[in-house]
Amino acid sequence: MIKKIKTNKALYFMLLPCVAYTFLFSYYPLTGWIMAFQNFKPARGYKGSEFVGLAQFKFLFTDIEFWRSFRNTLAMSLLNLVFSFLFAIVFALLLNEIKNKKFKSITQTVSYLPHFLSWIIVCSLVQTMLSTGSDGVVNNLLMALHIIKEPILFLGEQKLFWWVTTFASVWKETGWNSIIYIAAITGIDQELYEAAELDGAGRFGKMWHVTLPGIRSTIVVLLIMNLGWALNAVFEIPYILGGGLLTDVSQTIDLFVLNYGMKIGNYSLATAAGIFKSVISLILVFGTNRIANKLGENSLM
C-alpha cells in the first residue's frame, strides 16, 4: 500500500487539493449538525447552547404540517423527475431523426433557451398564461375550443398545482436536459444502425433497438444522480406561486424550514429538517444504485 503511494506520489499529490476541498466544504460543515440536538442560539454558540437531545426531531415528526411538506416535496420531485426524463429522452430521440441539419440545430438552440431564464420570470409567465383575465392564454384557448365554459383558476386549485409545477419545469428544462442524451446518441456506432437496417428495422425499430439501448447507461447514471438531488429539486415554483390557498399542496420541506426555522429564529429545527432530508436522499441514491446493479447496469458506487 505504502509502496503504491510512493510510486504514484505525483498523482496523490495532485489529488490533495481536491481532498482538502471536499473535506472543507462537504465534511467540515457537518459539525454544524450538532445544532439539531440543541436549542441553538447564535449569540451563545455551540458550547453555550442548551442540549435538548431529540426534542427538535420529535417536534418535526409529530407535526402534521411537516409530513404534509414531506409528501408535497416527494410528490413534486418524483413527478418532476419522471416527466423531465421522459420529455428529455423523447425529445432527444426525435431530434436525432431530423435530417435537415440547419433545422435541427435551430430547434435545439431554441429548445434550451428557456433554461437561461430565471425562475421568477418563468413564474410570472406561468401566472399570466394561467390567469382568468383577458391575457390568460390557456383559459382563452380552452374556452375557444369549448372544452370549458368558465375560466379555471389554475393557481387556486389544489389538485392542479403539482401539474403546474411539473409542466413549468418541463417547459424550462427539456431542451437543456436533452443535450446530454443527444451527445450520447452521437456516440453510438453507426455500423449498428446499418446492421439493424439490414435486419429490416424501420425508423422506430432502430430507435427502439439501437438508440435507446445505446443510451441506457447514460439514463441510469443520470437517474441516480438526479435522485440524490430530488428533494432539493423543487423550491422556486412553490415559493413564488404557492402559499395562501395552496399551502397544503405547495409547502415543501424547504419552505417549512424557512417558515418555522429561519423566520422565527429556530435554527435547530431547520438543521434537524435538513438532516432528515439528507437521510432520505441517501436512501434514494443507494436504493436506485442497488436496483441498477441488479439490472446489470453500470452503477455509480
Binding site: A43, L153, G156, M262, K263, Y267
Partner: protein, 593 residues
C-alpha cells in the same frame, strides 16, 4: 463673531455705495471684487475661531449653529445601514443629502431589503454579519435577544437633543432586560414641551372605498358591512368597466407577509385597530384577550365575503395575486374597495393622483359589527411603538460618531432643511408664521416618488431620528403633519368631497382617535426566538390564510359551514394557550399589573 460679520457687511455696503455713486461699468466690477474680498475675510474669521460658535437652546432644542460643519467633518466616515424597506437609494447628486454629508463627514450607505425580512435577519444572525446600523422594524426584537444591538441608555444623556427627545419615555423604551436598543423614528414621543402630538388627517387602516363610489351613492354614512358592500355592488352594476378595465368590487391582498387584507378584518369589526394576533378587550380590568380569528364576527365576515364572491363582486384571482399585481390593479383605478393599511397601497394611490384621477382615490369608512364603536384611528399615546427604531449593531465602527451625527441632525435648522427644504424656494410661512406650506414646485417634486427621493432630503430624514408633531411656534415638523399644507394639497375634487360630508379631514368620517394603552400593539411583542408561542403564532397565521381564502371561494353555504367547522377543529388542535399566556403576561408586565 457676529459683530465681525456685521462689520464686514457694513464695510462692503459702504464701499459699494461710494463706488456706485461715482457710476460707470468699471467701478461696478470693482465693487464685486470688494464684496468677494469682504466675504473671504469673513470666512477666514470663521475658520480661525470655530470655538466661538456657541450652542443655543431654542424651545428646548439645542442648536450647534444650524447648517455649519461638525468638528470632525473633515474626517469622512461611511456607515452601512440595513433597512427593512425595499427601495432605491437616493441619487448621488441629491443636493440636500450631499450638503449634510459635507457638513458632517458622515455617509449612510443604505442596504434596502430584498425578499423576506425575517429570512434576511435570520441569515444575518446565523453569520453574525451585521451592518453598522439596522432598522429592522418589528423584527428588531430578534436582534435584541440575539445580542446584536448595543445598549444605548448610557450613551444618550451625553447628547442634548437625543436626550431631550428620548428621556421622558426612556423607561418605556427599555426591553425586559432593562436596556434601550433602538431610537424610535416614527412616533410622537412625550417630551418636555418641545413638540406636541401631530393632528391626524387620514385613517391609516380600514375598509377603504373609492371616493367616486361614495359620490355616486350620494355621500351616505357607512357603518356596516352590508352598507359597505351595497354601495360597491350598486356602483359595480352601473360601471362594469372603468377606463376600459374590468371593475373589481373588492380586492383581497394575500401575498406572503402582506396577509392582513385577508385575516385582520375581524378584529377591526370588533372595534380594535391593528393590534396583532389577538383581540384585547380594554373595557375590562385586567384586559381580556381572545382570538378574533374564531369569533362570531369572523364567521359573519367571511360568510359575507363568500356571498360577495358568488355575486361576482370579489374576483377569485386576487387571492392568487402578488403585491405588484395588487398595486397595478389599484393604479388602474378599477378597484372599488379593499381592506388595507395606507402605507401599503399609497404608491398606487399617488400614481392615481399623478394621473389626475382624484375621484379614484380612497377614503376609509368606519365599518364595524353592529353595535360596536369603531377604533380605527390610533391617537398618539406619546409612547414608543418599539418597532420603528434604528439600532446600532455590535459591529459598528464608531457608535459615538453615529449618535453625535443623529444629535446634530435633530437641530431645528437641520430638520427643517431636510424635511421642508429652503425657505422661499421650497416653502413659505403662512399668515402669522404659525404654519408653513410648500411652494408648488416643491409639492410637485414630493408627489413624484423618484423626484422626492433624488431631489429632497426625505430619504435621509426618513431613516434617522427626527422630531415629530408640532413645534412650539405651531409649525409642523414634517410636511405631512402640517394642517396648512394638508389643506393646500387638496384638489377641488377633494374639497368638494369633504364639503359634501361637512368635514375638514377624511379621518373625521371615523370615530375620534383612540389613545392606546401602554402594551399596544401585540404585533410588536417579542415572543421569543423559536419559542412555543412564536411557533403557534406562525401556525395560526398559516392556518388562517389558507382556511379563510378557501372559505371566500366556497361554492355555497353548506360548503362554507363545513370549511368553518374544519377550521375551528384545526384551530383547537393548536396549542393556542401558549400564545395567549405569553401575550397576557406581556400585557400585564407593560401595564404594571
Amino acid at each position: 463673531m457676529k459683530k465681525k460679520k456685521l462689520l464686514a457687511t457694513l464695510l462692503t455696503a459702504t464701499l459699494a455705495f461710494s463706488l456706485t455713486a461715482c457710476g460707470g461699468v468699471a467701478e461696478e466690477n470693482t465693487a464685486e471684487t470688494v464684496v468677494e474680498k469682504a466675504e473671504t475675510t469673513t470666512e477666514t474669521a470663521e475658520e480661525a475661531q470655530p470655538e466661538a460658535v456657541e450652542n443655543k437652546v431654542v424651545d428646548g432644542i439645542t442648536s450647534y449653529g444650524g447648517l455649519t460643519a461638525m468638528a470632525d467633518a473633515d474626517d469622512p466616515i461611511t456607515f452601512t445601514y440595513f433597512l427593512r424597506d425595499s427601495g432605491v437609494a437616493p441619487s448621488e447628486d441629491n443636493p440636500f443629502i450631499n450638503k449634510i454629508q459635507e457638513l458632517t463627514g458622515v455617509t449612510l450607505k443604505y442596504e434596502y431589503l430584498v425578499g423576506d425580512l425575517d429570512q434576511k435577519l435570520g441569515v444575518m444572525m446565523a453569520g453574525g454579519d451585521y451592518p453598522d446600523l439596522i432598522f429592522a422594524g418589528d423584527s428588531a426584537t430578534k436582534l435584541m435577544s440575539e445580542g446584536a444591538l448595543i445598549p444605548l441608555e448610557d450613551y444618550l444623556p451625553n447628547y442634548p437633543n437625543l436626550w431631550a427627545m428620548y428621556k421622558d419615555t426612556i423607561e418605556e423604551q427599555k426591553q425586559e432586560d432593562g436596556h434601550v436598543y433602538q431610537l424610535e423614528m416614527y412616533a410622537y414621543l412625550n417630551n418636555d414641551g418641545i413638540t406636541s402630538a401631530p393632528p391626524i388627517f387620514e385613517a391609516g387602516i380600514g375598509f377603504f372605498v373609492q371616493k367616486a363610489v361614495l359620490e355616486w351613492a350620494g355621500y351616505p354614512e357607512i357603518k356596516t358591512l352590508d352598507q359597505y358592500f351595497d354601495v360597491i355592488e350598486g356602483y359595480l352594476a352601473e360601471n362594469p368597466t372603468i377606463d376600459g378595465v374590468a371593475t373589481r368590487g373588492f380586492e383581497i391582498l394575500n401575498d406572503g407577509w402582506r396577509n392582513w387584507g385577508l385575516i385582520n378584518e375581524p378584529q377591526c369589526l370588533m372595534g380594535a385597530s391593528n393590534d396583532g394576533a389577538m383581540f384585547v378587550d380594554t373595557t375590562k380590568t385586567p384586559y381580556e384577550s381572545s382570538f378574533y380569528q374564531i369569533s362570531e364576527e369572523a364567521h359573519t365576515f367571511y360568510k359575507k365575503l363568500n356571498e360577495e364572491y358568488n355575486k361576482g363582486v370579489i374576483n377569485a384571482e386576487c387571492l392568487t395575486e402578488n403585491y405588484d399585481q395588487y398595486i397595478a390593479n389599484i393604479t388602474s383605478g378599477s378597484v372599488l374597495g379593499f381592506f388595507d393599511q395606507r402605507w401599503n397601497f399609497q404608491q398606487g394611490e399617488s400614481l392615481l393622483k399623478n394621473d389626475g384621477k382624484y375621484e379614484r382615490t380612497y377614503v376609509a369608512v368606519p365599518v364595524t359589527a353592529p353595535g360596536v364603536t369603531d377604533g380605527y384611528v390610533d391617537g398618539s399615546n406619546g409612547l414608543p411603538t418599539g418597532s420603528n427604531g434604528v439600532g446600532i449593531s455590535i459591529n459598528c465602527k464608531n457608535p459615538e460618531r453615529v449618535l453625535a451625527y443623529f444629535d446634530w441632525l435633530l437641530q431645528r435648522e437641520v430638520q427643517d432643511y431636510l424635511r421642508w427644504g429652503v425657505e422661499g424656494t421650497d416653502w413659505n410661512y403662512t399668515d402669522g408664521n404659525s404654519d408653513r406650506v410648500l411652494t408648488d414646485e416643491a409639492r410637485e417634486i414630493r408627489r413624484d416618488t423618484a423626484k422626492a427621493r433624488d431631489l429632497t432630503g426625505n430619504e435621509l430624514a426618513k431613516y434617522t431620528p427626527g422630531w415629530w408633531g408640532l413645534y412650539q411656534d405651531g409649525c409642523a415638523a414634517n410636511t405631512d403633519q402640517s394642517a396648512a399644507e394638508y389643506l393646500a394639497q387638496q384638489t377641488e375634487y377633494d374639497q368638494a368631497f369633504l364639503e359634501a360630508y361637512n368635514i375638514q379631514y377624511p379621518a373625521e368620517l371615523l370615530s375620534p382617535p383612540t389613545v392606546r394603552p401602554a402594551y399596544y400593539p401585540i404585533w410588536a411583542m417579542n415572543l421569543g426566538d423559536g419559542s412555543e408561542a412564536s411557533v403557534v403564532n406562525e401556525k395560526i397565521t398559516d392556518l388562517c390564510v389558507k382556511s379563510f381564502s378557501r372559505m371566500v371561494l366556497a361554492k355555497d353555504e353548506t360548503e362554507y359551514e363545513n370549511l368553518w367547522s374544519t377550521f375551528l377543529t384545526d384551530f383547537d388542535a393548536l396549542n393556542t394557550d401558549a400564545l395567549k399566556d405569553e401575550v397576557d403576561r406581556q400585557i400585564a408586565a407593560k401595564m404594571g399589573w
